[in-house]
Structures are given as structure tokens and as C-alpha cells.
Amino acid sequence: MDDLGFGLWVTFVGMGLVFGLLVALWLLLSLALRFEARGPGAADERRATDEARLATGAAVAPAPERIAIRPTDGGPPPEPALVAAIGVAVALHAESRRLQAAPAMRSYWPGSLLFASRWVSAGRTRQSQSWHRRPR
């Protein structure tokens, strides 16, 4: 009878410990979620995205019809023809860079493995060395 009582006691203590730990874990997770909820919510994210879109829109918004160019040294403003010529030269230079795939215009550095997947790399190796001596 004593053994049965001891057994029940041990079971009670063991189960109590397990359930106690589970309750403690539940409380911990609830606490963590509560703190998490204080961060930026879905509504905040939407607002941030809208703001970013507005900012981007502002960045690409059409330029005002007339741009006033004022030299920083206080001298006379440059001739409009000179400004136009500089603008054309810059545009032509950019076009020339793009045609030559210059670094500023490249998506990735030649020779890098950012684009070539392992599938492609292994495949090209096989293409170059398609013959292998049969192992003995």
C-alpha cells in the first residue's frame, strides 16, 4: 500500500513539473508575442510602403520646366548653350559606357559566379571534358 502511495506521489510530482514547465513556457511565449506586437504592425508597414512610393514618385516626378543654374562662386550664370552641350556630352558618354558594357552599366562583374549556377558550371565543365577513361 505504501508503494502505491509513493508511486502516486512520484507521478503527481512528475506530472506537476511537466505541466508547470509547459505553463511557464506558454507565459513566456505570450510575453514575447506581446512585445513583438509593439513593433511595426501590418498597418505601419503599409504606411511605410506608401511613403516610400510617394518618395520614389517625387524622385522621378517631371522636372520643373525651367531649372535655374547658379554658380557657387557667385559668378555669372553659364550660357544655356553650354549647359545644353554639357548635358548632351554627359548623355553621350553614358550611352557609350552602356554600349561597351562598362562597369557602371554591368549587372555583375565578368567572371563572377553570381549568375552562373552550379548546374551551369558543372555542365560547362562536362561540355569541355566530355570524355573520361572508364575506371578499371
Partner: protein, 526 residues
């Protein structure tokens, strides 16, 4: 201070540095101010000026700048110049590593010597091992006769390296002066040859020898000028108006090529919308099938804006080949040109197409083919010169190529030319057709004559009967749907959809890997 050893060099370190600096300064002078002035008077730049224009600022690392020859015969003992007529080394073009050499015409006429060969061979070896393109700026009077057979062997050293590098690293030759005799074979073995109009020439035997042997009188320009190699021989892939433009062309060409056969060409940040559809394409092919159109207009509207870079523009103009960009990626284009000889394939066109396909294949550049071709050019001259063998080159090149291949039949695709020009059996990955495509074994009139000849001869009204049969034949075959039924065409598309279709297809095929059976090498029908 340590005592100098008996019999050793007693000069101080400073003296030795001064000597080195003096030698370097001497090397920079080339053949001297007088020769440089003569070079400029001819409208040509010096070797160092050319390299300065070609390479990024301060990127050139010279090798063998102080090497001189050891010959003493024929007065050569008094004509030693540091570098011995060639400037060689490594540098960068738009940030990309390249190996480059420039022959210096101001030094002994740029004549090819053992020292030149050693220097060029050295950078060829290093370029091949490092997997970087090799650029050669040729301006040489030919072999250095005073060196005898050694000078000829020197050519051989360069040739063998050209061949071993072929298909591994891009090799581009610029001809910026004379290139005569055995010297022509090194550029001929490279991937691309660019000439400068008016100042460059290439020939095996000069006008004097030709006159002595055959009695023909010819000028250097008529014999091997840029016009000859641009339009007739096809030796020159591009011709520039002057040296500066030639160097710019080279830089642009390099932008479409990878560093070596294991890498991809540079991708430019996309600047043209991938889903752009050009309505004008729907009406670009004339309703009247006998009317021509310029396939360059099609190319210009389909590929990224202003990205088309034509190769061999004046040679075999009945086909158009070149590089372009599609969503920033480099692609090769092969296109029939209906505005020249209706876009038929002849011997020169076959050679041009086959070579271009192989270049794209070795450098991992996808191939897009536009087909509007009524067939191979008939005629005695073509048959006698071997149109069969030359036409086979196209088939061989397409079948052998393992890069992504897409074809678009824009109008006519007749007979053997249809099969050869990237049909499904040429291992084409995706075949598109525009609604006006006509895919048939031969033209309607000829087919009706063969199929119904006897019936037509016995008909009451042969003309009316023939017209009826022609109408029936055209209804049957002069559309892309019959070919689509049998799986020869994957999709019939609106012409305006071509760009987005190509971009999406290439997106899928970008990681395509295909292997050919193991062999030493195939027997290309040369």
C-alpha cells in the same frame, strides 16, 4: 659599406637605377622622334598611343619592354631598340583584364623577329592560362628578313598559340597598317579582324610579286585594302573609318563577349522594358510577298534599344549576323535579309552564318534566328564552287551548337533552307512563327508544275487549272499552322509579342546545358 667583389659590378644602386630608367625612357621613344613623326604623317598612331587609347588609364603592365635582338648580320648590330618593335603586356578595358600587344612600325618597320615572337607568345600563354581575352594591334612590314628561317619559326610560335587559344579566350586582331606574308595568318586564326580604312592592308603576296608571277598590275589598296576584305573576301569582320574608331569598335565588341569559354558575357543593367510590344512589328512584313523589307528594322524593334552590333555588315549582305542585347543579356542574331537577293543563302552567306554560329556557341551566347529565306541560290556558278559543301556548314554549325537556340519564321522558309536555318531538327530549342509564315518544300508554282504537270497539260484550260492548284497548295502550306500541327513550330505568335516571348524563353534556357558525343573533333565541311 660592403666592399664590391672583385670582377663584379662596381656601380652603386643609384647608378643601376639610373641605367634602368634610361633604358625605360629609351623604350618609350620607339624608333625615335623622326620615325614617330613619319608615322603620324601617314595618319597612324604609334603603338603606345594606340594602347593608351585602348586600355583604361594606368592599367597597362608591360612585359619585355627592354628586350632587344642579338643579330649582328646585315647591319642589325647598330639597330637595337628596346622592345624590338612590339609593346606587349596586360591591361584593362572597361575594368576587364586583357592581354594586348601592339606592333611598333617605327622600329625596323615593325618587322617580325624572334624577340617579338617571344614577347607575344609569352602574353599568349599567360592570357590562355588566366582566361583573359587577347588583343593584337598589327602594324608590321612582315618577317625580319635578316633573321632568316628563325623569323619564320617565330611566326609558327604565335600561330600554334592562336590555335590552342581558339574557342577558349576571345582573340581580336586590329589591322592598323600593313600585314603581309605569313603575318596575315595570325589575325586570320583569331576570332575577329577589324581594319582601319585607308591605312591598313592584308595580303599574302605583294603587288610586286604578283606582277612578276602573273603579270597582273594591282595597287596595295586594290589587292588587300579594307574594301576588299570588308566586302569581297570577308577576312575583315569590321572596318572603321580610322584607328580611333577601330579601337572603339573593339571595346564595344568586347562588351558582348565573355572573358573565356567558361564564363558568361557581361550583362548590362536592363534599360528597355522586357514586356515592351512594338505595334509596328505587326505590319512590318509587306502584304505582297514579293515585296522586301529590311530585317534590321525588325531587329531594332525587338532587341534592346540601339544594342544591335552587326558583324560582317558588308560581306554577304543577304544575311545579317551580329550581337545584340535582350533584357541586358548578350545574344547572337542570324537573320535572312529579304531586301538583298530576297534573302537567299549562297556560298558567302553560308560561310558567314556558320562562322558566327560557332563563335556564339564557344562563348555561351544564345542564338536567335530570323528566317525569311526562299532557299539556296540556284546556278551553275554556285554549284561549281561547292554550295553543297558550304551550305552544309550552316547545318553542321547549328547541329553542333549547344547554346540556347530560338528561331522565328517571319515569312518564307522553303526547302533545304528551312531545314538548315534553325529548324527543330537542328536542335533548336524553341521555334516560333509569325502568322504570315510560309513553310513549304518549295514555292507554289514549282510544286504545282511537278505535282500536276501531266494533268495540266491535258486540261482544257491549263492556266485556270494551274491557278486552282496553286491556290489549293498555298492554302495547305503557306501558313504556319500546318508546321505547328506536326510540331515543327512551337507557337505561332503575333509579331509584336516577339520581344517578351524571346525574353521569357531565354530566361528559361539560360541554364541550358547540352553535351555532344565524346570525340577528338568533328569533321566540319570546310
Amino acid at each position: 659599406m660592403a666592399a664590391a667583389r672583385p670582377g663584379g659590378d662596381h656601380r652603386s644602386v643609384n647608378d643601376k637605377l639610373e641605367e634602368l630608367r634610361a633604358k625605360r625612357a629609351r623604350a618609350l621613344e620607339g624608333g625615335g622622334p623622326e620615325r614617330i613623326a613619319q608615322q603620324h604623317a601617314r595618319g597612324k598612331l604609334t603603338a603606345r598611343e594606340r594602347l593608351a587609347l585602348l586600355l583604361d588609364d594606368n592599367s597597362f603592365q608591360e612585359m619585355g619592354a627592354l628586350a632587344t635582338h642579338e643579330e649582328t648580320d646585315f647591319g642589325l648590330a647598330d639597330q637595337r631598340f628596346p622592345g624590338d618593335g612590339v609593346v606587349a603586356g596586360f591591361g584593362k578595358i572597361n575594368g576587364r583584364r586583357v592581354a594586348a600587344f601592339a606592333q611598333d612600325f617605327t622600329v625596323l618597320g615593325g618587322s617580325f623577329s624572334r624577340v617579338q615572337s617571344n614577347k607575344i607568345s609569352r602574353i599568349q600563354d599567360l592570357a590562355l592560362e588566366s582566361g583573359v581575352p587577347l588583343i593584337g594591334l598589327n602594324d608590321s612590314g612582315g618577317a625580319r628578313i635578316q633573321e632568316g628561317v628563325a623569323s619564320l619559326a617565330a611566326y609558327g610560335e604565335v600561330f600554334v598559340r592562336n590555335v590552342l587559344s581558339s574557342g577558349v579566350i576571345p582573340q581580336i586582331s586590329l589591322i592598323l597598317g600593313p600585314c603581309a606574308g605569313g603575318a596575315v595568318y595570325s589575325p586570320a586564326l583569331t576570332d575577329f579582324v577589324i581594319m582601319a580604312r585607308g591605312t591598313s592592308s592584308m595580303f599574302l603576296t605583294g603587288p610586286d610579286v604578283i606582277e612578276a608571277v602573273t603579270g597582273e598590275t594591282v595597287t596595295i589598296e586594290e589587292l588587300g585594302g579594307s574594301e576588299v576584305h570588308e566586302a569581297r573576301s570577308g577576312v575583315a569582320h569590321l572596318v572603321a573609318e580610322d584607328e580611333r574608331e577601330a579601337l572603339e569598335l573593339l571595346k564595344r565588341l568586347l562588351g558582348y563577349l565573355p572573358q573565356n569559354n567558361n564564363e558568361d558575357p557581361p550583362q548590362v543593367v536592363p534599360y528597355d522594358p522586357a514586356d515592351r510590344m512594338d505595334e509596328a512589328l505587326n505590319s512590318i512584313v509587306p502584304e505582297d510577298e514579293s515585296e522586301a523589307y529590311d530585317v534590321r528594322d525588325v531587329i531594332g524593334r525587338v532587341f534592346d534599344r540601339d544594342s544591335f552590333f552587326e558583324i560582317h555588315p558588308a560581306y554577304a549582305p543577304n544575311v545579317v549576323v551580329g550581337f545584340a542585347r535582350l533584357d541586358g543579356f548578350s545574344v547572337g542574331i542570324v537573320a535572312s535579309q529579304p531586301s538583298v537577293m530576297a534573302g537567299v543563302l549562297d556560298i558567302d552567306a553560308s560561310d558567314k552564318v556558320a562562322r558566327f554560329i560557332r563563335i556564339c556557341d564557344v562563348y555561351n551566347i544564345p542564338i536567335v534566328t530570323f528566317v525569311d529565306c526562299p532557299g539556296f541560290l540556284p546556278g551553275l556558278d554556285q554549284e561549281f564552287q561547292g554550295i553543297i559543301r558550304h551550305g552544309a556548314k550552316i547545318i553542321y554549325a547549328y547541329c553542333e551548337a549547344t547554346v540556347p537556340k530560338i528561331s522565328i519564321v517571319t515569312r518564307k522558309a522553303m526547302g533545304g533552307a528551312y531545314v538548315a536555318m534553325s529548324s527543330r531538327q537542328m536542335r533548336t530549342d524553341v521555334a516560333f512563327a509569325w502568322p504570315g509564315a510560309q513553310i513549304a518544300v518549295m514555292g507554289a508554282d514549282a510544286a504545282v508544275r511537278i505535282l500536276y504537270g501531266r494533268l495540266l497539260r491535258s486540261a482544257d484550260d491549263p492556266a485556270a487549272a494551274a491557278a486552282e492548284h496553286v491556290r489549293h497548295y498555298r492554302e495547305m502550306f503557306f501558313n504556319p499552322y500546318r508546321a505547328a500541327d506536326v510540331g515543327q513550330i512551337d507557337e505561332v505568335i503575333e509579331p509584336r509579342e516577339t520581344r517578351p516571348r524571346l525574353i521569357r524563353t531565354l530566361e528559361l534556357l539560360r541554364t541550358k546545358v547540352q553535351q555532344n558525343p565524346p570525340r577528338k573533333h568533328g569533321l566540319f565541311p570546310v
